[in-house]
Symmetry: none
Subunit: 317 residues, 2 copies
DNA sequence: ACGATGCAATGCGCAATGTGCATAGTTTTG
DNA sequence: CAAAACTATGCACATTGCGCATTGCATCGT
């Protein structure tokens, strides 16, 4: 009987769809199906009624749901409490962030001179936006690092969380290039000309919404025709490099490809949006290491070269 | 993160010894050690201080213990509740009983014509007395089968439980025998003569207390000198057969060895105590199968040959 | 009504994880 | 001091879980 089975159940209870739940849990549908079956075997009763569409909870499943939530919450709370008690060097700080930030930003940030002088043991759990938020809220992770824009979807507002800005990035529109390095697509075309669009899927939850925001502010509608969807910026990047269409991508994600001339920004600076990179944590006293890092980050925020250090890094790319 | 890791932790918290805990959990010591390590990795803090002897709980481990107990209890309670809701043939009935009853009584009882005509799926969790009671109270098991004597420790009185008698046994004093089949030890000896005594350890919780009761009623004190302790009647039996001393043992446990002349009763019938074998369950409506069995047992209780059937079995032995 | 698509379960080969045995190093016991 | 007990670790093997491919069924769109 594994804790992850309980979390699997919570996912299927929410989505009522094995395939969707499996994706959300980052496993294949068959593996997800078998885990739910394993849980049902342990319980000794069916929790899901698979004969309906969408699937429904059985009576037992409905009764199980609140207790299941309680168990999961309690387990993670216990874990956090133990870490707090243990404190000091035996604890590991857990971070969660978007895949892009986990891949391109976090290693540099955690390795920068100001941060790396702290003796921290860290683990990073990359996830999509909603999942990252859930990891932080459920106590699975100590910190969440994500993009934030004032006009974008609210991030953990109104809850017991605090945040600090630790960097900046920019969402830009990019296209693959021809042999001369010129963009394959541009937005200054006739309104009737369709532009193949590489879109963020629903599971992204954040960047796609910011992209929509920028487009709504453009001087005329763009005739974008979605030809591919992905929740991962890197997936969209590869399609853009392959010439399949245009995509909104964080600058940090495409800096290297742009330097190599494989991708080019289109639409200019007006067709872009600056985003903050913010780190969130639960407000109030945390573990010894967690509090130590937070205090350190607050002090760094007062250094004028701190944030521009990361800007310069991107600009140099 | 597995439920069994939590149960492992409860075992090491109780025993303070990896080897003993591993045996109790029916796995090897290295596997047990690694499971505790896995739990500690998940928690992110040490729960056990291995630098002391016996091992101790760390501060984090001490803090974790009550929450861990709660989680385990809650998980099994949830499981039972789900089975109850689901009802019918998908459920399995779980029994818990003393090791002796699990080994010698339960297989015969569940296989007797009156019981085996019911289509039941059953599982049996043997434990010592207190653990059995806990399994039933915590909802880990549907039924508990144990010895009961009016003058012995109260069994689940005052709580929401009901019980039915399903058999009888007798606690008798036995000794190993010489080549002629005569007892090696007898209680009719001078008061100054020590009798080597194979005693129940504290973890037994029931039979040992009944034995003390009988001895307190004997016409003069017995000069018993404890030479060995065990929580398992079978352990005491083997020592008695080996000639190491006298032991109080349930008749059902020693019937075979007595027939073979390897053990003999001493002290006569006065030096024995009849015990009921009773089955307990939580009062009120249970699962479909649980209620079905209970009704069936009530009907059997009305049959005059029911209980004597099991007496005759022992007498014939 | 039909074809295309989506959904959940299952078989299969492979990957990952966990196990017991043997052993090493340390501590405790007699 | 030697023997026994205790805990962790290496290693080979066993067990379990995974993703891919597929199947059977239901839903959706034309």
């Amino acid at each position: 009987m594994e804790l992850q089975w309980l979390e699997d159940f919570l996912e299927i209870a929410a989505t009522r769809n094995f395939s969707t739940a499996a994706t959300a849990r980052n496993i294949s549908q068959p593996a997800f199906s078998r885990r739910i079956k394993s849980l049902e075997n342990w319980i000794g009763a069916d929790l899901i009624d698979r004969s309906t569409y969408p699937v429904q909870l059985t009576r037992a499943g409905t009764m199980f749901l609140p207790g299941c939530q309680r168990l999961v919450r309690e387990a993670y709370r216990l874990r956090t409490d133990c870490r707090n008690v243990a404190g000091e060097s035996s604890a590991m700080l857990t971070f969660t962030s978007l895949h892009t930030l986990a891949m391109y930003f976090f290693p540099r940030w955690i390795g920068s001179p100001l941060i790396s002088r702290m003796p921290l043991r860290t683990s990073m759990h990359a996830a999509d936006f909603l999942e990252s938020i859930d990891h932080l809220c459920s106590g699975q992770c100590d910190f969440a690092i994500t993009y934030v824009h004032p006009d974008g979807p609210p991030v953990l507002e109104g809850g017991p969380f605090e945040s600090l800005q630790i960097g900046k990035d920019r969402l830009i529109l990019v296209s693959g290039t021809d042999d001369n390095g010129r963009p394959l697509f541009d937005i200054d075309v006739a309104e009737t000309t369709e532009i193949p669009y590489l879109a963020y899927s629903w599971s992204d939850g954040y960047i796609g919404k910011l992209a929509t925001l920028i487009q709504s502010r453009w001087r005329r509608p763009l005739n974008l025709s979605t030809v591919y969807q992905s929740g991962l910026a890197d997936g969209l990047k590869h399609m853009a490099i392959a010439g399949r269409g245009v995509a909104w991508l964080p600058q940090i994600c495409v800096a290297e490809a742009m330097r190599q001339g494989r991708l080019a920004q289109i639409g200019g600076q007006q067709m872009s949006l600056e985003m903050e990179i913010r780190i969130f944590r639960r407000a109030g006293p945390g573990s010894h290491d967690s509090d130590g890092l937070w205090q350190h980050l607050k002090q760094c925020a007062a250094l004028p070269q701190y944030k521009s250090g990361f800007d310069a890094d991107i600009d140099a790319a």
